[in-house]
C-alpha cells in the first residue's frame, strides 16, 4: 500500500501545527465560533449532541496493522474505548475534547494518517472498491488513481470554499461495491478497444434530502486528463451554484437545474481551457504511486481446499468469504453488525485483534468497506479457520454479510441533533426479529438502510429496504421505502405509503420480506423480485 514520502509527511505535519494554532486562537477567544467552525470542519471535527466528533480519513479504505493499532490507541486514550467505522470508509470518534484534538492529529501523523477535509465544504476522502487489488473482476487496481486524487485534491487553493461537500468514488470493476453513482463525482476505470486506460465519468450524484443518481458525462476520458476534468467540474460548480440556501448548494442540484446536457457542455468548455494549462501529473508520477500497490508476493501452488468439517465455520465461509484473484487465497469479510450491537462500532481490543490478523494472515493489509464492515483482503484459504477462530474469540464472527441483519443505520436521535427519530434501536429490533441464522440465510441478500432524518446519512435511498425517520406531530414515525440500490444498477428507493411507529416498522419489514419469500422465483434476491413485480403487490402485503 502507499507510503508517505518526505513531502506527504511534511504536509500532514504542517496541517497538525496549523490546526493546533487555530484551536489555540479559538480557545484564546481570537476567533468566534462562527469563524472557527468551518476551519475545524475542514479537519473532521464536528460538534454533536453530547461532545465533539472527530472523523479520521482512511483513504480508499486501505490501512495496515500499525495504523489500526494507532486507531485503537486513540480510542482508548482520547475516547471511551471504541470507534465507529462510517459509510464512507472513515472512522469516527464520538467523545472528543476540543483541546485534545490537535494531539490526536499529531498521533495520526506518526502513522501517515490525517483528518484533512473529512467534513465541511471540501473535497472529501476519496473512496474506492474495498476489494481493490484482490478481486479478479477489475481492469486495474483503482487505488493508485484514488491516491493521486487524494494528493491533488488536498488544499486545492481555488476550491477553498466550495458551495458544499464533494465526494469522489473510484471503481474499476463491472460490479459496483462502492455505491459510485451516489457520489458527487463517480469514476469507473475502463479499458477501450485500443487497450488504453480511461475513465467513465459520472457527476452529480448524492443522497441527502434531494437524492440524485449520477449521470454519465463521459464514456472514455483518457486517464491522464482526469485532474483537468475534475478541476473543470469543480470550477463550473464553484462559480454557478447557489450560495443562498445551504440545502440547494450540492452539485447535484446545479446539474439538475442546468440539465445534464448544459452542465456537461459547460464542463467540457472549461475542460478544454484547463487542459492547456498543463496541470495534470505525468506518467512517471503515476508509475511511482502504482508501484506501492503492486500485488503482495502471493504464494503459488496453494490448495484451494477449505476444511469445512466445523459446521459453524462453514456457515461463516459461505457468507463472509469472497473469491480472490490469486489461487489459494480468499477475501475474508469481518462483520461489524452483531445482532445486539451498533453497526460499525468496534472496541479498541477488537481493533487490535483485527490488526494482528492482518499482520499475520493478510500481508499486513486491511480494508474498511462502505457497508461499515472490515475486510482482510488476502488470506490463504488454509488460514481461514485460524482467522475465524480468532474472530469468534473477539466477538467478530457474525456470518451475516449482506444479509437482512447487515444493516446500515445512522446515529439518529441517540446522538444527532438533527434527528427526527432513533435509528439504532430500530436496526437492533429488526436484527433481533431476523436473528435466526437459517432464516437469514433463506432470505438471502437484503440490504436494509436506516436514516433518522432526510439528510440520509444511513443511505435509505439506496436500501433494498429503506427506512426514514420523520417527525409526525412530535412523535417518532418511520417511512418504509423499497427498491433502492447502490450497485451497478443503481436505483433510488420509493416510499411505500403511510409511516409506522417503532414496532410497526419492524412488522412492516417482516411483511415485505415474507411477501418476497412467497412469490420469489428460484435464485431471485429480494431486490430482483421487487424489480420484477413492482410496488403494488408489496404495498398490499404491507398495508393489508
Amino acid at each position: 500500500m502507499y507510503r508517505y514520502d518526505k513531502y506527504d509527511q511534511a504536509m500532514v505535519d504542517a496541517r497538525v501545527e496549523d490546526f493546533r494554532d487555530q484551536t489555540r486562537r479559538r480557545i484564546a477567544g481570537q476567533m468566534t465560533d462562527d469563524q472557527f467552525k468551518p476551519l475545524r470542519l475542514k479537519n473532521g471535527l464536528y460538534l454533536q449532541l453530547h461532545a465533539y466528533m472527530l472523523r479520521v480519513a482512511i483513504p480508499y479504505g486501505t490501512l495496515n496493522s500499525t495504523q489500526m493499532r494507532k486507531l485503537a490507541h486513540i480510542a482508548r486514550t482520547y475516547d471511551r474505548g471504541y470507534g465507529h467505522f462510517t459509510t464512507r470508509q472513515n472512522i469516527q470518534y464520538n467523545w472528543i475534547k476540543l483541546e485534545q484534538a490537535p494531539d490526536i492529529l499529531a498521533e495520526l501523523a506518526t502513522v501517515e494518517m490525517h483528518a484533512i477535509q473529512t467534513s465541511g465544504e471540501s473535497i472529501r476522502n476519496v473512496s474506492a472498491d474495498h476489494y481493490a487489488g484482490a478481486t479478479a473482476d477489475e481492469v486495474i487496481d483503482p487505488r493508485p488513481w484514488a491516491e493521486m486524487l487524494r494528493q491533488m485534491t488536498t488544499f486545492m487553493p481555488e476550491f477553498s470554499y466550495l458551495p458544499r461537500k464533494f465526494k469522489i468514488a473510484v471503481i474499476a470493476a463491472e460490479e459496483d461495491r462502492a455505491a459510485m453513482r451516489w457520489h458527487d463525482f463517480g469514476l469507473r476505470i475502463v479499458k477501450n478497444d485500443a487497450g488504453e486506460i480511461g475513465f467513465e465519468v459520472y457527476p452529480g450524484g448524492g443522497m441527502g434530502r434531494t437524492p440524485f443518481i449520477a449521470y454519465k458525462a463521459r464514456d472514455f476520458l483518457p486517464q491522464h486528463q482526469i485532474f483537468s476534468y475534475l478541476q473543470a467540474v469543480l470550477r463550473v460548480w464553484n462559480r454557478h451554484a447557489r450560495r443562498d440556501n445551504i440545502h440547494k448548494q450540492r452539485m447535484k442540484i446545479l446539474v439538475h437545474e442546468l440539465g445534464e446536457e448544459e452542465f456537461t457542455r459547460q464542463v467540457e468548455e472549461a475542460f478544454q481551457h484547463i487542459l492547456k494549462l498543463g496541470s495534470d501529473f505525468p506518467q512517471a508520477e503515476y508509475d511511482r504511486i502504482a508501484a506501492y500497490f503492486a500485488p503482495p508476493p502471493f504464494e503459488t501452488r496453494l490448495s484451494d481446499e477449505i476444511d469445512r468439517s466445523d459446521p459453524d465455520f462453514a456457515v461463516w465461509v459461505d457468507q463472509n468469504v469472497a473469491a480472490h484473484k490469486a489461487p489459494g487465497y480468499a477475501i475474508a469479510n469481518i462483520s461489524l453488525k452483531p445482532i445486539k450491537g451498533i453497526g460499525g462500532d468496534i472496541t479498541a481490543e477488537q481493533m487490535e485483534v483485527v490488526a494482528d490478523l492482518a499482520e499475520r494472515y493478510s500481508f499486513d493489509e486491511l480494508r474498511a468497506a462502505h457497508t461499515q464492515n472490515l475486510v482482510l483482503p488476502h488470506v490463504r484459504k488454509q488460514d481461514l479457520y485460524a482467522v475465524w477462530q480468532a474472530l469468534v474469540e473477539a466477538g467478530l464472527a457474525d456470518a451475516n454479510l449482506d444479509l437482512v441483519t447487515d444493516i446500515i443505520a445512522c446515529p439518529g436521535l441517540d446522538y444527532c441533533s438533527l434527528a427526527n427519530a432513533r435509528s439504532i434501536p430500530v436496526a437492533q429490533k429488526i436484527a433481533e426479529r431476523f436473528a435466526d441464522e437459517a432464516r437469514q440465510k433463506d432470505i438471502g441478500e437484503l440490504k436494509i438502510k436506516i436514516s433518522g432524518c432526510i439528510n440520509a446519512c444511513g443511505h435509505h435511498h439506496a436500501g433494498h429496504i429503506g427506512i426514514l425517520g420523520v417527525d409526525r406531530k412530535g412523535t417518532e414515525n418511520y417511512q418504509l421505502l423499497l427498491g433502492g440500490s447502490g450497485d451497478e444498477n443503481t436505483t433510488q428507493a420509493k416510499i411505500t405509503g403511510p409511516g409506522f411507529d417503532e414496532d410497526g416498522i419492524v412488522d412492516a419489514v417482516e411483511r415485505a420480506v415474507e411477501h418476497y419469500r412467497g412469490i420469489r422465483e428460484p435464485g431471485e434476491r429480494f431486490l430482483d423480485t421487487y424489480r420484477r413485480v413492482g410496488m403494488d403487490g408489496f404495498k398490499e402485503a404491507i398495508y393489508g
Binding site: D5, Y7, D8, A10, M11, A14, E17, D18, D21, Q22, R25, Q30, Q35, P38, L39, E121, Q151, M152, T154, F155, M156, P157, E158, F159, S160, Y161, L162, P163, F227, R235, N238, R239, R243, H273, L277, G278, S279, F281, P282, A284, E285, R288
Partner: protein
Amino acid sequence: MAESGNPIPQAASEANYLRFREDSPADEPAVSLDSFFEQPNAVSVRIEAGDDPQRLIPHLSRVKLVEVDFPKFRDGRGFSTARILREAGYTGEIKATGDVLVDLVYFMRRCGFDSFAPDVAIDPAVLEACLNRYPHVYQHAADDAVPIWQLRHPELANG
C-alpha cells in the same frame, strides 16, 4: 510557500490594506463591472461574487486593479474569479475585499490575489504564520510554486 513573502507596507492610513506588489496602487476607486464598460477611461473595476469575470477578459489591457469581493467568507466564488483572470494573462493587481479570513489568505495568494483589504484588520503575526505554514503544494495554481509531483521527478524538469 516561500514566494508569498511578506506584504509591502502601505501608508499608515490604510492599515487594513495588505499589498504584495511593488508598483504603486491605482488611485482611482473601482467601479462596478457594468460601469466599467460604460467608462472607457476606467482602470479599476470591482467584481461582485455573482459577476462573470470572463466578461472582463477582452478589456484586460486597460485594467490596473480588480477588486474581488467576498460578501461572506463561506462564499468561495472569488477564488475562481482570480484564477480565471490570471489564466487570461492579467498581471495587474487583484485585491480581495470584504469578509477575508486570515486562514484563507494563503490560498488566495495561490489563486493570484496580491492585495487584501479585509473588513476586519488582520493580525500580522497570525498572517505571517499562516503564509509560511505549508512547506509544499500538491498542485499548480496561479503562483509559481512547484508542485510536489514535480519535485519528485526532477528528471522531467526540461521535458
